[in-house]
Symmetry: C2
Subunit: 213 residues, 2 copies
DNA sequence: GGTTAATTCGGTATAATTACCGATTTTAGG
DNA sequence: CCTAAAATCGGTAATTATACCGAATTAACC
């Protein structure tokens, strides 16, 4: 029988080991390669790529969702399962649009991860129950916001990072050679998109969503 | 030869597996027990405890530093090594005062973790280089703040959590039956203690330090 | 019981953010 | 080339947060 080939991307060596061990215990799957960064993965994929990629969404250099988008365009054969800590459900919507096939929490029981790999390999979608539940909750709670995409623009991300760095609007304006008014507009859009009412909530949610740090 | 007995506490099963595998590969150490929560660990320690405890500082229910304090009072024989993602160095000062013997990053190379266990077992202190470097940097940069303890009071933590929840000062005051003025004082103290100048920076740093979420 | 830290509250002033109304120009993609 | 999204900028008003002066009460600890 052809084994399911799985590659892993995570910046934590410990998580990589844990996943590797977990997968190699199964008879119908094998680990192809371990990757520690998005750059490394992109290079490695030029030579060879797996059936399934387990992708940590929290990465230091590149945003997980950006990488997912690149990969699903360049390597649509590779089925991507996202590993995340997030319990914010609406984030999945964007990811699913990026071609993600599965979404599980890092804190999941081990068998769930194995199940997810098999399901996605069969061509199914696999969303962690905990998340699916919350997603429904969320949809019910927020009707007015449901067709608003959560993808941040380049400028918005830039400004978000500066807000997190303790900058005031004026300081951001100076830094980016913009008027304070422009910065405020972007701040407002950030608050709207993330559905929070001030900067404290913005930063909190941004980190939870993996948009920051 | 007597093996070094190591117990592990982390809320992520994957990290636990990774650590377990890593430690059991070494001939001079063994894993005593895996713990998934602070409560579970405290109960288990009543019967038996290890030489070394690898303690994740990011825990859902109990604060890592609080647990460390409890443990070092109740079980001073157990040497604690903290595992963390933090690159904020001044946090260690408090931890070291709580009786912590080692401090390493989750993203460390695997051999570092093994080294740390051996060093701490010999009675040495082991601080991750990356952190030690930053700690010195930080000391140089911030002289005026160096004798200010970073431990937050109960009330401050309470208010910090509400700030992160998008509450305004007035809403917090209502929630806790306080005057707005009191809330503002606490907010100010939070800004001072964490050395940031607004709520956005406060939340960012609090999360980095493991004080939130 | 005495000392220290924590918590509570007041006023005033300034700075910063957020909420509204708006608009034009630039960029990216089909 | 055309269209939609993104990025840019203005003014005003209201709300919030922060910076300063201060101090009294309560809780915790030795």
């Amino acid at each position: 029988m052809q084994k399911i080939l799985v590659s892993l991307l995570d910046d934590h060596p410990l998580i990589l080991s844990g996943l590797q061990q977990l997968i190699e215990q199964e008879e119908d799957m094998d680990v192809l390669e371990l990757h520690h960064s998005g750059q490394e993965l992109l290079k490695a994929f030029e030579n060879n790529y797996p059936d399934i990629l387990l992708l940590d969404i929290h990465l230091p250099e590149i945003q997980g969702d950006e990488l997912a988008l690149i990969l699903s365009k360049k390597y649509p054969q590779v089925k991507i399962i996202v590993l995340s800590n997030l319990d914010y459900p609406y984030y999945i919507k964007n990811l699913l649009q990026s071609g993600i096939k599965g979404y599980i929490l890092k804190s999941s029981k081990k068998y769930k991860i194995i199940d997810a790999i098999r399901a996605v390999h069969r061509g199914e979608q696999y969303i962690d129950d905990a998340i699916a539940d919350k997603a429904n909750e969320y949809k019910r709670a927020l009707k007015h916001n449901q067709n608003q995409p959560l993808l941040l623009t380049k400028r918005e991300k830039e400004i978000l990072h500066l807000i997190a760095k303790d900058y005031t609007s004026l300081e951001i304006a100076d830094e980016l050679y913009l008027s304070k008014r422009t910065v405020d507009t972007h701040r407002n859009n950030l608050l709207l998109k993330l559905d929070v009412k001030n900067s404290a909530g913005l930063i909190k949610k941004a980190i939870d969503l993996g948009l920051l740090k």
